[in-house]
Structure formats: C-alpha cells, structure tokens
C-alpha cells in the first residue's frame, strides 16, 4: 500500500496489504451508475433478507418472542428465502452480468433505459411479494414460488426485458466469438424464463400430487439453472481477468455448459425421493444427480487449474479469496448433493436440517461467495473507488467462519435428527436434541449477518466517484483515462 491509513500502516500490520486494481479505463458514467444501482439494491436485499433469516433462526430458541401475525415463522421463512433469492442473489448476479456482457462483447449495453426498468420491476416484485407473504397471501406454500402470479409476472417481465437487452448486446458484439461467460449468462436467462412460465401455468397442477412433480422440477432448476450458471459465467470472466491469464481450458467450460443443461434439468425429482410421485422420475433424478459429478469436475477443475501456480496472486488480492472459497464450495457441496440424492442416504437425511445445511453451503458457500468475489473484483474498475481492504478481510472471515458454524451445526444435527427418527423414539426427542445445534446455527448466522453489514458498507465505499462532491481528483483521473 502506497499511502497507509490510520488502521493499515506498515507499523501496525494488522493485515497484509493487498494489490489494488489497475487504473480505471472507463469513462461511461451511465454504465457505472447502472451496475452500481444493481449492486446496491442487491446489498440492501441481502441485509434485509438475512436479518429475517437471523430473526427466524432465533425463533427456534425463543418461539414466544412475540406473537405478531406478520412476523410469524411460517410467514417470514418464505420472506427470507425469496428476498435472498430474487432480491440478493438475482440482482447481484445481474449486476455482474451487466458488467461482463458488454465487456466481453466489446460494446456498450444495448439499452441503459431498459436495464433501469428491469431493476425497477424486480425490486417492485420482491417488495410487494414480501409484503403479501407477511400478510399471509401466497401462491400455495410452494418453496421459492410462494409469490402470487401477478407478482411473479412483474418479476418475470423484468427478467425478460433484461434477457432481451443482453441478447441484443451479444448479438451486436464487436468480436466474432461469443465468450464462454456469455454462454452461461444467457443460459441462465434462457433456462429460467421457460422455467418460470412452466412453474406458473396451472393446467397440470390441479391436485397436490401433480403440483409436487412440478415443484421438484422447479425447486432444483431455480437454483441450478439460474444462480449456478450465472455465478459460473461471471467467474469465467473475473477469475482469468483478476489473475491476468487465460482460462485453463475453454472446451472444459463448453462441456460443463452442455452437461449442465442435460443433467441438471433431469434431477429435480430428487427433492421428493420416496414420495408417491412416479418412481421412474425419481430414479432418473438419482442417476443424473450422480452424473452431475462430471459437470462439477469440469467446472471446478477448470477454475482450480486456472488458479494453479497463482497462490501468491490470490493471497495478494482481496477478491480472489472469495472466488477460491466459492469454487471449492461449489465442488464439495454439490458433490454432497449427489450423495444426498442416493436413496440409502435420503433415508437418513431427507426432511432433516441436513438439507437446510446443504442449501446454505451451496447458495451461500458457492453462489454468494462467488458473487462477492466478482463484485469486489469488478466494481472498482467501473466506479473508480476501491473498498477498504481491512473491511473486505473482515467481511470474508466473518462470512466464512459463520457459514462453517452454520453448515457444521446443521450437518451434524441433521444427521442425528435422521438417526433419532430411525431409532423410533418419540418425535419430540429429535426436537430437543436439535436445540443446541439450532443455537450454533444462530451464532454462525450472527457472524454471517455482521459480515453482510460490512459488505453493505464496502459497497457504499465503492460508489461511483462522481456521486460525492470533493472527489474531483478521482473524476479527473477517470476523465484522463478516458481521453
């Protein structure tokens, strides 16, 4: 670090100083503002959504903390999941996509105006959807599609507009090849749009068992065909960019892309193993769940081989550690999913808190960490402002340690829960046994939540340079770079 701050000085090396990003070469203020607005919106949803998550995790220890209908556990749980899915995860990934797609297409985004409209629609849908959920109005209690259809239609309109916007950008690209990131990012849109349409058309969901077949399909495609491909797409750009070297193998990326579509689409029914849904779709799901190991190995192998030999660069960067941790989580916890899908292990783990552990180890350990890595790596290049390194470090460690506590507690607790049910003791014994594990989950959750506050602060510190007065120098630097 050239000029120390009161906290970060050479005399008091609380942390090692990290590399700074290369000088900003962008002059496009409108672009910076747009991407930043998505990121800031996402950060807000993260803080809100996980505040709710933290609150409901306390309710396991203190169920009588209040008796307000709008804050009741059953109503708030979908507020948590929908806020982090459609508010946080979605908008954060889209912020990244709005940076990566124009960059790798060597041109401006097709339309800034439309992208602002998309942001407005998505935010509006999540706000209204959450309020309705708290009022007890939902679509029928189905996980991740609890928003009633008029709300989801607004959300979908935002996503469709953005898909159009990005597709036009790619179509008018300034180079011949479509970079692999754009395969994954557009894949996310082109899979999720039909998915939402299928999930919300009522014709084949007229009794609870048919609904369950669709639910299994939807629930897994939601995580696997939206968050997963876009998170991977961003990483295919930011990882080589931050390391300043090419991706290890382009064709592995292509292989992982097509197997993602072929295998992942088939595995939704593993959410309802042993349910009275058709046995053959369950068996297909188990087989392809194991097949997913190919996709995983291709994807993570590619990232890890790209990182090989760059340990120093990773240690010197404040964004790459997030990407490394996210990549490792992607492999470990998706492979965990493949194991979970086996019928013998489902016998123990299904319906237990082990699943909740898996949900967070993946959605948090994989998707959320990767997005953080990309945002820290890319935003400063656009806005001209870097986050304070110390606070990025605090963010990283609080999040990772918190998640380890969360995931560890529920993995152990969930296994014991399953074993307790198998042993045939009264059900309430499994509830009593979980008490201490739920407490540890709340402790881990507190650390995670604190890290989100730090993240929100860091995002604010990365705001586009032009916004604040008295930052004229940064502006000049931007202008000069543009000239």
């Amino acid at each position: 670090m050239a000029h120390g701050t009161p906290v970060l000085s050479l005399k008091r090396p609380l942390t090692v100083s990290k590399a700074r990003v290369e000088p900003v070469a962008d002059s496009d203020r409108a672009w910076a503002r747009l991407v930043y607005a998505y990121a800031a919106s996402a950060a807000t949803w993260l803080v809100f959504g996980t505040l709710v998550g933290l609150y409901i995790s306390f309710k396991f220890a203190a169920p009588d903390i209040e008796h307000v209908p709008w804050l009741s556990y059953g109503r708030l749980r979908p507020v948590h999941t929908n806020s982090v899915f459609w508010g946080w995860g979605t908008l954060a990934l889209l912020a990244g996509a709005l940076y990566v797609v124009p960059r790798t297409s060597h041109r401006r985004l097709h339309s800034y105006g439309l992208a602002w409209v998309s942001l407005g629609l998505i935010d509006l849908a999540v706000v209204v959807g959450d309020v309705l959920l708290m009022a007890g109005i939902n679509n029928g209690g189905q996980e991740y599609r609890e928003f009633v259809w008029p709300v989801q239609a607004v959300f979908a309109a935002g996503v469709v507009l953005l898909a159009y916007n990005l597709a036009r950008t790619i179509a008018g690209r300034g180079i011949e090849e479509i970079y692999i990131s754009n395969w994954y990012i557009m894949g996310g849109f082109l899979w999720t749009i039909p998915l939402v349409v299928f999930a919300y058309l009522p014709f084949y969901q007229q009794n609870a068992i048919a609904e369950t077949v669709v639910q299994g399909y939807y629930m897994h495609m939601g995580v696997g065909m939206w968050f997963t491909p876009i998170a991977l797409g961003l990483t295919y750009y930011s990882l080589p960019k931050l390391l300043n070297k090419p991706i290890y193998s382009y064709s592995l990326g292509v292989l992982a892309f097509w197997t993602q579509m072929l295998f992942y689409t088939m595995i939704g029914a593993h959410h309802f193993i042993f349910a009275p849904t058709p046995w053959w779709i369950q068996t297909v799901a188990v087989i392809f769940s194991v097949g997913m190991v190919i996709t995983l190995a291709a994807g993570t192998g590619n990232f890890l081989l790209t990182m090989r030999g760059s340990g120093r660069a990773i240690a010197r960067s404040y964004s790459l550690p997030f990407i490394l941790a996210g990549t490792v989580s992607y492999f470990l916890f998706s492979a965990q999913g493949s194991l979970e899908a086996l019928r013998s292990l489902q016998g123990v783990w299904h319906f237990t808190n082990y699943t909740v552990g898996h949900s967070h180890l993946t959605m948090y350990g994989f998707v959320t960490l990767l997005v953080w890595g990309s945002l820290y790596g890319l935003l400063p290049r656009l806005t001209g402002r870097e986050p304070p390194q110390l606070w990025v470090g605090v963010h990283f460690w609080f999040a990772v340690v918190g998640l380890a506590l969360y995931g560890g507690a529920l993995s152990v607790g969930g296994t014991l829960q399953g074993l307790s049910w198998m042993s045939g003791v009264p059900f309430i014994e499994s509830v009593k046994q979980m008490a201490s594990f739920w407490l540890w989950r709340a402790v881990g959750g507190t650390l995670m939540f604190l890290s989100h506050l730090v993240f929100a602060y860091n995002v604010w510190r990365m705001r586009p340079a032009a916004v604040a007065a008295g930052e004229a120098r940064a502006d000049v630097a931007l202008e000069e770079a543009a000239a």
């Binding site: 169920p63 008796h67 009741s72 059953g74 749980r77 979908p78 109005i137 939902n138 029928g140 996980e143 009633v148 597709a167 790619i170 179509a171 690209r173 090849e177 479509i178 557009m186 082109l190 899979w191 749009i193 039909p194 998915l195 299928f198 084949y204 969901q205 007229q206 009794n207 609870a208 068992i209 048919a210 609904e211 369950t212 077949v213 399909y217 629930m219 065909m225 579509m261 689409t265 088939m266 959410h271 309802f272 042993f274 349910a275 009275p276 849904t277 058709p278 046995w279 779709i281 068996t283 297909v284 188990v286 019928r343 016998g347 319906f351 049910w421 198998m422 045939g424 309430i428 509830v431």
Partner: protein, 226 residues
Amino acid sequence: MSFHKDHWLLFSVTCFGFVGLSLIIGILPAKWVQDNAVPLPGMQPLTALEKQGLGVYVGEGCVACHTQQVRPLEMDAAFGRPSVPGDYAYVTPLGPWAPYAPAVLGSQRTGPDLTNAGRRQPSEVWQYLHLYDPRAVVPDSVMPAYPWLFDVVASAPEGATVVPVPAPYAPAEGVVVPNERGEALVAYLLSLKQAPLEAGDEHATAAGGSAANGADGLGAHAGGTR
C-alpha cells in the same frame, strides 16, 4: 455454423433443448399423474369449512415445517401407511390468486408429519389448545403460537367452544374462543385421516410393493402411479 459464432443458434438450442427436457421430466409426468390420481373409495372431498382451513394452513406457512407424505420406510410407519397419489386427489386449487393445488406434501419435518393428524389427536380441544400455545400441551415444542386464530371475550357466546387454556398461558381476563379462521383450521386438521386401502385395490398392491422394495430402489412403482 458454430455455437461459438452464431448467437441465435446457441440461444435457440439452449432454450429449446431445455424446454424439451422440461416437458419430458416435469410437465408431462405432472399431467399424467394429475389424470391418474383418483380418490380412494373411502375418501370424502373437503367441506367448505375444511377447504377454508386448508387456506389458513397455506397462508400461515405450516408447510415450512410439516410434511404430509408417509414414505414406504420403516421409520415413517408411525405416521401411517405409505401415501399414494389418490390421497391427494381432493387437494385442489384455492382460488384465482393461487390457481394451483397447494403444496401440502412438504419437504421438511421440523415438526411431525400431519398425514394422520386428525386420527392422532382427534380432540378438538387439544387442537385448539395446541394452536393457541403449543407449549401448553407440548412443553418442548418450538412451534409458533397462533393467538390470532382466537378471540378473547368476556364470556363465550352461545355455542362457542371455550378453550380451557391453563393458567400460565391464559390471558389475564376473559375466555379464549376460536375465531372463524381458527375453527376452519381445526376442521381441516381433524379431517386429516388416511382412507383405508381396500384389499385387492391396485393402489394397495403397488404401495405395498414399494414399501418392501423402496429402500434399495428396486420397487417398480412408488405408490401405484402407473
């Protein structure tokens, strides 16, 4: 023509490939299951009150913690016989805002399975007490209390059920009676009873078959969907 250079080719194969797979693994099986889930002989459709109660169940998010599916596994035997598709034939959409059947099967058991809730706890009074404050009847429960499904009144109106809430949980003054939504929910819970599978019924044999073979995956059809 190459996926690397032709964006419309790449986009359409990506999109329509997924749509095709979705039809095979999601939509057509759902349609087929829907058409083949016939109510069992002993089953009654939900009454208007019970259906309203299902709406309360869904709105309050009970499905976050409770399943209504018994698997063909030994550990589930305490909850009833293995579920079959016919068991859900009468769980149908609730209205224009939710034109889909509500998800009652669930995916987590923070609390016990409710497939046979009405048989396990047939007492209306127990159900009311439990909803008013679960800890009044199950001290270690972590389930939320639902006092907003009840009214506290000076004296019970004609014909109303008074909930005998024990002292530490009772309001300081007045008596507790369920309101309309509370009554509907309890009516729904009490209606949760598996209909018997008639001997020789094709569902019974299929369900039995998967009970025997389910754990190792050799069962031909789970729960008689064929």
